[in-house]
Symmetry: C2
Subunit: 134 residues, 2 copies
């Protein structure tokens, strides 16, 4: 079912510093910050040859990563995203297997404009998983 | 400097359950457990089309992931690994930029038989980074 690793999302307390670090210290290709007000984050994309890293910092009062950064002030890996071909079929399979799909198990449009689901970290080895339909 | 994302390593409390979950619930291609006694872990490789997930569980008394699992009993993302072409050049650049390279900043042979370095999570947004020479 799952296909490519679409991205690894890292929540960071200082987006400018983290971007500079990836560009200068690690020599990666780092994009400009993009505000995603509908998702409560500002994102910097780091293009690797085979996948992407997304640096996330909170935007607005109700950012979904604010609590994570309170708990992990230095930052940390927030989630990883796997691609699926059919998000509804993925949802049905996950529910049939007893996995908890967050947000009422209804796919919503994610930060890349495509349907996504998030799965409960307690069902997946303490890792928050995003599935994105590609 | 950094190239492909070589793998995402997830520490898990129950390797058999986590493997079954990736194979059955997520429908991924999951390998057989491999003991790596020199590295204190048993590893299961999950092949995605563009990169790998490595499920890690402790092996032996001094496993480097034992403390992580004590702190995160449900498991969690332990590190991510970026590929580099020249580990010595990477080391020199990191030290010049003021990053802390673990283990005395000397590359050692990693679980894939290639030279690796680990970088201090406090210098990289709370994420433990491995660099592997490819």
């Amino acid at each position: 079912m799952i296909g490519r690793l679409n991205h690894v999302a890292i929540a960071v307390p200082d987006l400018r510093a983290a971007s500079a670090q990836y560009a200068n210290t690690l020599g990666a290709t780092v994009g400009a910050p993009q505000d995603e007000p509908d998702h409560g984050v500002t994102v910097v994309f780091i293009d690797l040859p085979n996948t992407k890293i997304e640096l996330l910092s909170p935007l607005g009062a109700d950012s979904p990563i604010a609590a994570f950064l309170e708990k992990n002030p230095a930052g940390g890996i927030h989630h990883i995203c796997y691609e699926v071909q059919d998000i509804q079929a993925a949802r049905d399979r996950l529910l049939a297997e007893g996995a908890r799909v967050l947000g009422g198990a209804e796919p919503r449009i994610g930060a890349h404009g495509k349907p996504v689901l998030f799965l409960h970290p307690k069902d997946f080895n303490g890792t928050l998983l995003e599935l994105e339909e590609i």
